[in-house]
Point group: C2
Chain length 164, copies 2
Amino acid sequence: MKHDAIRKSFERFLRTRDLKLTPQRSRIFERAFSTHEHFSAETLYDWLRKEDGPKVSRATVYRTLGLLLEGGFIQSLDVGRGELVYEHVTGHEHHDHMVCLACGKIEEFHDERIEALQAEACAKKGFVVVSHAHRLVGYCRGCARKARIEDAAEKRSASDAAAE
Amino acid sequence: MKHDAIRKSFERFLRTRDLKLTPQRSRIFERAFSTHEHFSAETLYDWLRKEDGPKVSRATVYRTLGLLLEGGFIQSLDVGRGELVYEHVTGHEHHDHMVCLACGKIEEFHDERIEALQAEACAKKGFVVVSHAHRLVGYCRGCARKARIEDAAEKRSASDAAAE
DNA sequence: TTTACTGCAAATTCTTTGCAACAAC
DNA sequence: GTTGTTGCAAAGAATTTGCAGTAAA
């Protein structure tokens, strides 16, 4: 199964660097890979605290997240204003994100043709890709509609006050 | 000139929201648009402190950066490990980034065909794009070569120790 | 055994906020 | 004048680090 392969790869990664496979690291790794949600360090820490298993401190969560990032097992994704979230990397199946500014929802999309063009751009520059993040920020269908309505109202009252 | 158009647009943005055009906001705006580099809030604050002009406090830098972000004048770009950097948005000419994990260099690339496919994906989901960030993380030509060499050395010593 | 790991709490770093004086409009 | 803005310093988050005890390999 794929999960085992990734786990093996993580173990190999640790061995290569003379790092140890501890219950904490193992738990953090498993938890990160058991969800398809995006999570922040704090969120992950909360999950681990609520569920049972070997105790994991916040410091260890941060330290391990750093390792997973270096190893390319997870990647970080900037969701606007300061908040950093992570998601695990599942082999080569990338997906890209649409982040709604209004409701915060993250939709995912994927287009092979974009991937291909991307690979081409890399080849041209001699760049070796480890991971990629493609993020579109804007408004989802629902919020866009709402925004359009509010916008219209705003313009109306603005032109009432001072013919803009 | 384009710069003036963007400036006007910023002024309009402020007016629409009943915000005032202060020397501080003006200075921050100008500084952000006078560079093509990527900068963090702290970096921008440093620039402003060293160069002369109306005094701007750190708090105001953060507050104004927030405004510029909301207005879509700048966008934030996640360069891995926690550091948030910004860059100004120059009309509709987007560019995407390749961030080197080893040396930190950020190369830019652009492909109209990718933009088109992206627009298509948005149309399909009814998503209205405000800005986009397309980021490839990996190794630039120079660092990739170096990494390959080190990697080989590592593998060699690893298999010496324990025939993996 | 040896070397690395963990939890804790203190230290940093980054960012936000309350407030009184001040400045656009 | 009215309303929003600024700087400051304190408050809050988020993340890192030193250290002594603990546990993989």
